[in-house]
Symmetry: C2
């Protein structure tokens, strides 16, 4: 391992670039400036663009018309530390407390610990180091390259779409590569060709003018908490299918080759049960848990509330209740269309005696590409070169990265999702980590990827 | 109006006998001592009995074997003040703020304002004044009398049952009278012959070991919030009937005479809708709202919760969710039996993939007597004498006063519920009040009641 790469990554990790925290605004800006300086120092032309929020860093080599153009996307902002105060006499719990300071990255047993180690500084920086090595060796890259690195990914990329639109000519490219996903197991090269989208909604049901005594008025009026429960219960059939009319209309079915490939992966439903600690795996009939998470849409309650929340009992009929919902979508569902169907469903199913409001929340398009397009085959070759002797896992993921669909819409190109984080990387949690060997594999991957893509 | 009666009541109201507040323990004790002294001063033998909580006051005349024995129950403790701080520049809102100090009773337009004015000091004290007048005039009551006044009614009468058991020989009586309920409208003498019971339960559903990312795991595992919603939704059929097997087995049907009598009352479903501000009145099919509240059991959610409660969205599958429920019961349902059926129902209906806990909460028996038993007819005569020219409203109430069932179990006698408070008495709320004319009517009622009961 090149010592400078590691010491540079540790320097990158020391910036507390927490995008959601207004008190960290200067730290976020300093992190962007450091990254631009680093990209400049390895031989690229780098610029930092202000946005209404945090800056966007763009770097490129000198482009030539006879080469293909590859855009590597990443983000330099990180999640908050999110650690409860350690009470007097309490032993730190690694599930809740950092064992070492989140912004003083530590190396233990070949693993880098620190906020952003995996998500996304470590993964992004392996590409930076790969490019650095190629430029040092040959003074030339095999492709036209653009690094596009934002500082607001953890807060919904709020200014990124507008930036893409405004700069779409300069950002024109043939393919996009992103390492911000996961590997299914240590050492298993993993190519993600599908992501779920999302449509958020909030139900609010109101009844009487104030909380009512459940003895004096119970039986006379509708109970908003009961009504919210009935609306939530109306979302699913007994077999786990979603009962919203037309919900599955635009769903691309799971392909037979996917089902066959996934059944051979070194990742099973038993692994999912162990990781979650759930009493059992349940969901839509006819699919394995992995298939349900990766290839089927869902309707989940993220929060439900109403009435008395304290210890014991208080005999009220609450005046209002709510449910916060997200629907995970698969190709070719669209958030706006799904929200409209969900809203109509709730309006049809709302019991009498209460008022219902259905508010639309954020949305993100699902993404599905073929891993066997020329660029996808090139990426598979690169993964085999970075992880010699291992079969490439072709997977989808259940989470949402809405900008991937935005890339397709605005720039008209596909995105290669080449994850380097392990399942226990603890992204968004205390003790986030990234093994040095994954960092090294990422550097190998970058070099192989640019070479493979140059030929497609 | 006898000026001394009113000034005595105001003195009684000045004691801040808030039973739930440990800081008021001495005030509660002083209030009990004052009441015992007052009862002694009018010619009764009074005693104050300590309990593990607040004292119980008992007073009696000299009993004679040839007279019937009447026990008048009441409570001298009161609800907390429960007033939010008035912010700088905020105008006091009579729904939230006291217009005059709760323990400095004020007389405005013939109405007494103060904590406890209606619940229960004012109502109780009208009986004390009635007895006082009779003793002053004739030096003799027409009945053997027992006043039994507790100081823990507002905190669930926690020590009252044990006291009743321990003193059941001294408290032996033929009938009990209580003025701690309401009149359906000003000037309408009201006899309550039924109360609902209560059975409380809490559902807790747990799933995965921690909150899960709804993208990464959504579809694989059960969602506790969804499961709680489905369990709550399973409680009712579409027509509003409760779907728990055997729930209605022990329900005494609403009698035809009750339906007919209630339809003639100066209290309608429209009044209920106006008072509650509900968009519509809904509930079990086949009954008016008044019938549902007074004569039919219910299942209400008092609180529901789980997952993200803040503004916006957080894409988690919550690790647990709960619902707090109370079932209002009618004769001859029993809390323990209903809880057992409800628990079995939830265990049968709980979706796979989660763990369910059903906890039993507090319970209270319903009460139903006939208004046309000899003592009931006597009470109706007394009400007609206290409110000349008005028809007596024979009603049930939807709330629960569990000690009434305890009286029947321990002492083996019925209870006459002769309410003197108006619908807008604001019991348990700021600006609690009791009209002087109701106080006077209560004094007339006491005299008439003891005379009528003497002859039955």
């Amino acid at each position: 391992m090149n010592d400078r790469h590691l010491s540079d990554l540790l320097a990158f990790l020391r910036y507390p670039s927490v995008s959601t925290d207004p008190a960290r605004k200067e730290d976020v800006a300093r992190c962007a400036a450091w990254l631009a300086g680093k990209l400049e120092s390895i031989g690229l032309q780098a610029a930092t663009y202000p946005t209404p929020g945090h800056p966007i860093v763009v770097a490129r080599n000198a482009h030539r018309a006879d080469r293909r153009t590859v855009l590597i996307y990443g983000h330099y902002d990180v999640q908050p530390v999110d650690e409860p105060e350690l009470l007097e006499g309490e032993t730190p719990d690694p599930n809740r407390h950092w064992m070492t300071s989140p912004f003083e990255p530590a190396l233990r047993d070949g693993v880098i610990y620190g906020r952003g180690a995996a998500d996304n500084k470590g993964q992004l920086f392996s590409h930076v180091c790969g490019v650095s090595e190629m430029l040092e060796g040959s003074r030339e890259l095999p492709v036209n390259l653009v690094f596009l690195v934002e500082g607001e990914e953890e807060i919904g990329s709020v200014n990124f779409g507008a930036f893409l639109h405004a700069h779409r000519e300069e950002l024109r490219c043939d393919i996009i590569a992103v390492s911000d996903t996961g590997m299914i197991a240590p050492g298993v090269p993993t190519f993600t060709y599908g992501l779920r989208g999302i449509a958020a909604a909030e139900l609010r049901v109101t009844g009487a003018a104030s909380d009512l005594h459940s003895g004096i008025y119970g039986g006379a009026v509708g109970n908003p908490a009961t009504c919210v429960a009935r609306l939530v219960a109306s979302l699913h059939h007994a077999d786990g299918r979603i009962a919203v009319a037309g919900f599955y209309d635009d769903v691309t079915p799971l392909a037979e080759w996917e089902r066959a490939a996934w059944s051979r992966l070194p990742l099973t439903d038993a692994d999912l049960q162990r990781v979650t600690g759930a009493p059992d795996l349940v969901g839509e009939a006819g699919y394995s848990a992995l298939e349900r998470v990766w290839a089927r849409p869902t309707a989940e309650v993220n929060g439900i509330g109403g009435g008395f929340q304290g210890v014991g009992s208080k005999t009220v009929i609450p005046r209002e209740a709510f449910a916060k919902l997200t629907f995970r979508l698969v190709a070719d569902q669209h958030p706006a269309g799904v929200f409209a169907k969900v809203k109509a469903h709730f309006e049809t199913h709302c019991p009498r005696g209460v008022r219902l409001e259905v508010k639309q929340g954020h949305g993100g398009e699902p993404y599905l590409t073929s891993p066997n397009l020329p660029a996808g085959l090139a990426a598979q070759n690169a993964l085999r070169r970075a992880f010699p002797g291992r079969e490439v896992a072709l997977i989808r993921e259940g989470g949402s990265i809405p900008i991937v669909a935005t890339f397709r819409q605005v720039l008209g190109v596909e995105t290669l999702l080449l994850g380097l984080a392990l399942p226990d990387c603890r992204a968004h949690a205390p003790n986030e980590n990234f093994p040095v060997e994954n960092f090294e594999a990422g550097i190998r991957l970058n070099r192989a990827l640019l070479e493979e893509l140059a030929q497609k």
